[in-house]
Structure formats: structure tokens, C-alpha cells
């Protein structure tokens, strides 16, 4: 994420020109739709977001890719209450679109979150102010630090202080941290911080370390944190070319079997997707067919290293094996050996990193034949350019 503020954007345009980008609702009768939303909410499955006390339907809306105001209105009409965005999505256009839509709704009728990347405390608050002006709001319900994955970033005193100031100044009701790496660690650090109230974490059926994530979520929930799930669809496709779709409804239901997860924020960009996700708000029971579709998933992971790092910990030379496995995937899965070679050279890997080692102790939880793959792909480092063309 970019690590600097966007004050100039605000000066130029946040309220003026951006408003012109998004047309007013072409469909009249907002009050009527709002009434229907209240009615719908009564039959939705809801859970409490930890000590924040916020009650949310189990499926919310990730707005990050949506550029259509009608879609946000439809989500609210379907009973979704929570909308998730970030300072950086669409270079700010996403927040501006939401501001234009939500100005017509009672402030208490929705729960909005945004995310600001880690930076020095003053800039962090300045950046939040830009987001608030784009959103046309006095406050956000949840303010996240966007994507830190090290203990020093998660527990950075300057950031924690900025978060406290965001609350004391009324600019945020609650604060949290979002993460899609080292989720178990981040959940535990957040719980220990005494500042964070919410964690937005990756969680999905394809995570090799899901048991760890689930265990950490239980601990965090026990400590009063509210937990929201993202990347629940695991990318939506099994393959890079996006030809083999994941059963997203099943994937969503699957993560919601864990009651420590309050809600989820799947990215919604079509009305069809909205209807499918909204139906999960009424029934999270997995059908046999849905279970079967997810059970097929492990067979799809033959080249994909999830970077758990256990192999490196076991390797006597502490080789960056996850990166080497990624290079292997580029070569054999995607047919891009130049990419692989760039990666290998960037990490300083030699043509035979295992040379001379006679007692390999590195193993992979997914069963990858590590030594064989390292040997095969590392040879690319010395291959002349013309042989890869």
C-alpha cells in the first residue's frame, strides 16, 4: 500500500468533482426501500462483533471492486448493514462513491469501515481525515490499520496512539487491524494490545493453516475481539486463468460454521452475486452437494505453496523455500521461466542451493518433494537469456 497521505486529492476534489462522478439514484422511493431493509433484517442470521456490541448479519459487503451505486443500495435493501472499503481502493474513488450513496441513508442504518495503511501517526490521522471527507461522514464505525503483518507494525506505538486519538476525537467508533498474512499471530498480537477491538482476517477453506487460524480466532474472540472474515472465497477461482470457479456460496457458508466469525465481507460486483451472498444471510447450512464441491479442493493445490514457512525452519541452511516453490510454480504451472529466474536471482539463490548438503531435514505439510523441486528450478539461474526466449 502507498504510505503517504492524499491531502492534495482532498483539496482538489473530494467533495466537489467526485460527487459529479456518481449519479443520484435513478430509482425513486428511498424511504420505502429503507423500510423494506428494516423488515428484511428481522429474519437474517446475525452475530455480535465482540465487545463493540455491534450486531451484524453474517454476510456483509466488500465494496472494494464495486463502482455501481445501485449495487450498494441493493445490498442495503437486502439487509446487509456493514460496508467495507479502504483509503486506497480505486485511488479513493471507492470511498467517494460510497459517500455519494450513503448521504441519503440514516447514519445509524449502516456500519462502515475503512482502512488506512501504517505510517507515522500524524499522517495516519491526516489520511483518515481525507477518507472521512470522501465518505462525507463525521466518523467511521471501524477504522483499520491496513495490512500490517509484523509485530512491530501491529503494535507500533505511534499507530496505537493515532488509533486512540481517532476514537477520542470522534473520528472512529472502533478500531481494528486487517491482515491476510500471519493471521494467527496478528490475532494474538491484537488481542494483547489492549487497543484493537476488531480484526479483519483472511479465512477460507483452502488455508493449510486453517486450524491455527481457527484456534487463534477462538482465543481472540474469548478476549472480546470482534472478528470479520475476508478472502473467504479463496480468490474465487482454482486457477490463475480464472476458468475453474470455486463454489463461492459453499465457501462462504463453510467459514461461517465457526461462530467466532461475526461476519464476512465478500467482494460484490453484480446483482447475481449479491443475491447469492444475501441468501446465505438466511441459511448457512451446507448442503451435501456444497460439501462435496469443497472437498474436491485439496487436489487443486499441487503447485501452490501457501508460504507457511515450516520448511525453512527445518532446513539446515534456512533456504527461502516458499519463494523457491513459487519460482517452481511459475515455471511448471504458468510456463514463465523468466519470472522464475528473476525471482530466484532477486533472492540470491544459486544454481544448486542444496549442493553439499547430505542430510535434508526440510519437509512440507502439503507433501511437496522439496529437494527435487529446488534442484529442478534453481538451474534456471545459470541459463543464458536466449534459451528462455
Amino acid at each position: 500500500m502507498r504510505r503517504f497521505s492524499r491531502r492534495g486529492f482532498l483539496k482538489n476534489s473530494a467533495l466537489g468533482a467526485s460527487a459529479a462522478l456518481f449519479t443520484a439514484s435513478p430509482v425513486s422511493g428511498l424511504a420505502g426501500r429503507w423500510a423494506r431493509q428494516e423488515k428484511n433484517t428481522k429474519r437474517l442470521i446475525t452475530r455480535r462483533l465482540g465487545k463493540t456490541g455491534i450486531e451484524l448479519p453474517v454476510v456483509s459487503m466488500g465494496v472494494m471492486r464495486a463502482d455501481n451505486p445501485a449495487l450498494v443500495r441493493a445490498a442495503l435493501a437486502a439487509g446487509m448493514r456493514h460496508l467495507d472499503t479502504a483509503h486506497g481502493y480505486m485511488e479513493g474513488n471507492n470511498e467517494s462513491m460510497l459517500g455519494e450513496v450513503l448521504k441519503d441513508y440514516p447514519r445509524s442504518s449502516f456500519v462502515i469501515s475503512t482502512k488506512v495503511p501504517p505510517m507515522d501517526g500524524a499522517s495516519f490521522l491526516d489520511t483518515l481525515d481525507v477518507s472521512l471527507r470522501r465518505l462525507r461522514m463525521e466518523y467511521v464505525d471501524i477504522l483499520y490499520v491496513h495490512g500490517p503483518s509484523t509485530v512491530s507494525d501491529v503494535l507500533d506505538p505511534a499507530i496505537l496512539d493515532a488509533l486512540r486519538k481517532a476514537i477520542s476525537s470522534g473520528r472512529a467508533k472502533h478500531v481494528g487491524v486487517s491482515t491476510h498474512k500471519k493471521e494467527p499471530d496478528v490475532l494474538r498480537w491484537a488481542a494483547a494490545s489492549g487497543v484493537y477491538e476488531v480484526v479483519l482476517s483472511s479465512v477460507n477453506f483452502r488455508q493449510d493453516h486453517y486450524a491455527e487460524v481457527r484456534s487463534a480466532m477462538a482465543e481472540a474472540a474469548g478476549a472480546g475481539l470482534g472478528i470479520i472474515g475476508m478472502k473467504t472465497m479463496a480468490g474465487g477461482f482454482y486457477d490463475r486463468l480464472r476458468t475453474r470457479p470455486i463454489n463461492c456460496k459453499a465457501a462462504l457458508k463453510w467459514v461461517l460454521q465457526d461462530e467466532n466469525l461475526t461476519t464476512t465481507i465478500p467482494g460484490i460486483t453484480s446483482f447475481e452475486m449479491l443475491n447469492e451472498n444475501a441468501s446465505v444471510n438466511e441459511d448457512i447450512t451446507l448442503t451435501d452437494e456444497e460439501k462435496a464441491s469443497l472437498a474436491l479442493a485439496p487436489a487443486e493445490g499441487g503447485l501452490y505453496c501457501q508460504g507457511c514457512g515450516r520448511c525453512t525452519a527445518l532446513c539446515g541452511r534456512r533456504l527461502p523455500i516458499p519463494e523457491i516453490m513459487r519460482a517452481y510454480m511459475y515455471t511448471y504451472g504458468y510456463g514463465t521461466p523468466r519470472n522464475a529466474r528473476t525471482l530466484l536471482r532477486d533472492m540470491g539463490a544459486g544454481a544448486d542451493p542444496c549442493a553439499g548438503c547430505t542430510s535434508c531435514s526440510a519437509t512440507c505439510p502439503k507433501g511437496f518433494p522439496l529437494r527435487e523441486r529446488i534442484r529442478d528450478v534453481s538451474r534456471l539461474v545459470d541459463i543464458p537469456e536466449e534459451f528462455l526466449a
Binding site: F4, N12, T331
Partner: protein
């Protein structure tokens, strides 16, 4: 020499077995020398693909993937005064997709500059579109020094990319009168919120309406697209399609007027009346015909 030959041969076999083909240009080729600046490999990875784009831009990755993201190279430069400039070079699968991504993040309030097909500056950033590439330059250093550094690096990267300037052709179809500058966009998926509608070029007009063009492969595809959309929008077409103007009462987007034009589905929404829609779409049709005849 023998060892090298063996290595090359064994790797060639390995590559053939793995169905390997050519990859992208090396990072070094994308980040040329810039006078007065020193290239510095960024901390962490300098290369990203669809599998790990999340690692660098988190949830924003979704939009890039929807717009045919291929890969990203990252490089950094510093000068003797400590000014830092970071360049992120996003490659997309086509010029149209690169424009699609660029248009999602462009804002008409930015300060536009002459770089690539088009670029703009904002505080501490300079973004530009360049053929199949979307380039994002940033600096922690504000003011003229930071801007000057970003311009220098941006110009160098632009030269290294060797791309032809120019907009995707369908953008030229839109009538100029009343069109809002720098608000055209390309929506790769789920235009108007419907799965059926994809690959739409859109322009906004001062009068408040939006016109769109969806290029298709055949008149049959155009017809099927119109029917599928109308049905999904809750306003199915009954009987034969009207030759002049199709009126779809979209439950989410209001009234959308469509016209089937050979291999293009064109439309307008936000228009106050059917007459207005007819008039505006006729102008659009004229221009599409004009450009088609030139080919």
C-alpha cells in the same frame, strides 16, 4: 564448456516438459538509468503476479485481476539529496484492460500531464497509462523536488516501455459535444451490476446521462446480450426486438435504452426521455459507422 552444454540441454528438456514459454521483460529493462538517480532494488520482492499481488496492494488486487493484470515490476530510485522515487509498472493483457484499470483510478479533478497516453499528478504521486502498461510513480518527498524526481523517473520508464500512444478505439466513438473530459471508463466485468454485461466502454455527459458501447463478435451475440440483460434487469423482451430502440426498465438502474448496431450494443441511461435517447444514440451510431467505414 561441456558442463554448460549439459546444463543447457537438461534445462531445455526440463522446460519443454513443463510447457515453458517466454516470460516478461526483466526488471532491469523496465527501469533504465536516470541521470542523477541511482536505481535501488526495493526491499522485499520486486516482482508480482496474479498469485501474490495481494501481498503488495491487498484488497485492491481484485480490481487489477478483473482488468487482465499480468504482472508487476517494482523499482526504486534515490538521488544524492535523499529524494526517493518508487515506480510500480503494472502490465495488463491488452491496451483496453490497461485503460480499464487506469480509468477506475483516474479522477477528473487531478492535474493531467503529457506522459504516455495520459497521466496525472497528485500530491506525491504520478500515474500514467502507456499502451498495455499502467505505471504508478510515487515519492515520500513532497514539493517541486519530489515532483521533479517523479517526472524524471516517469519519463525514463515511459521510454523504456516502447509503447504506442493512443486510446482504445471505441472511446473515439462517443460524440464530443457535452462529454465530460477524463471521465470515460472501461468496465471489464459486471457493467451496471450484471454478469451478462461485460467489456463496456462508458462516457458521461454534462446533461447527466451515460452512453455506452459494448463491442461484440456478431449481430447474434449483440441480440443475445440485449435479451439476457433485459431479462436479468426484470424487463424481458417479448416478441421481436424493436429495430429502433429497446427500452429496458431496469429495477436497479432505471430506464436504459438500447440499440443493436451490427456488432455493437449501444445504450444510454439517465436520459430524461425516449426522444432524447433516440437523438443521442443516433449521434453515437453515426460515429461508429463513420469509424467502421474507415477500416
Amino acid at each position: 564448456m561441456k558442463a554448460m552444454r549439459t546444463l543447457v540441454l537438461s534445462t531445455a528438456i526440463l522446460i519443454c516438459a513443463g510447457r515453458v514459454s517466454a516470460g516478461p521483460a526483466d526488471s532491469a529493462g523496465l527501469f533504465p538509468e536516470v541521470r542523477g538517480w541511482k536505481f535501488v532494488p526495493p526491499p522485499g520482492s520486486s516482482y508480482y503476479t496474479p498469485d501474490n499481488l495481494w501481498d503488495i496492494i491487498d484488497g485492491a488486487a481484485d480490481v487489477f485481476l478483473a482488468n487482465g493484470f499480468v504482472d508487476l515490476h517494482v523499482g526504486e530510485y534515490t538521488d544524492s539529496a535523499g529524494t526517493d522515487v518508487r515506480a510500480e509498472v503494472y502490465r495488463h493483457s491488452s491496451r483496453t484492460n490497461a485503460f480499464g484499470m487506469y480509468s477506475q483510478e483516474r479522477h477528473p479533478g487531478y492535474h493531467f500531464i503529457d506522459i504516455g497516453t495520459q497521466g496525472y499528478t497528485e500530491e506525491k504521486l504520478l500515474n500514467f497509462l502507456c499502451g498495455t502498461y499502467y505505471v504508478k510513480i510515487s515519492s515520500h518527498t513532497g514539493g517541486p523536488r519530489g515532483l521533479s524526481g517523479m517526472r524524471a523517473v516517469g519519463n525514463a520508464v515511459e521510454s523504456a516501455l516502447h509503447q504506442e500512444k493512443g486510446w482504445p478505439k471505441p472511446l473515439l466513438y462517443f460524440p464530443a459535444a457535452g462529454k465530460r473530459p477524463n471521465e470515460e471508463s472501461y468496465i471489464a466485468e459486471n457493467f451496471l451490476g450484471y454478469r451478462a454485461l461485460a467489456r463496456a466502454f462508458v462516457a458521461r455527459y454534462a446533461s447527466g446521462y451515460r452512453m455506452f458501447v459494448i463491442p461484440c463478435d456478431s449481430p447474434q451475440e449483440v441480440r443475445a446480450l440485449a435479451s439476457t440483460y433485459a431479462e436479468a434487469a426484470g424487463s424481458p423482451i417479448t416478441g421481436t426486438h424493436p429495430a429502433s430502440l429497446l427500452e429496458v426498465h431496469d429495477r436497479h438502474n432505471g430506464v436504459v435504452y438500447l440499440r443493436e448496431l451490427n456488432t455493437h450494443l449501444i445504450g444510454i441511461l439517465g436520459c430524461p426521455s425516449r426522444d432524447c435517447a433516440m437523438s443521442e444514440l443516433s449521434l453515437l451510431e453515426e460515429r461508429i459507422t463513420l469509424f467502421s467505414n474507415r477500416e
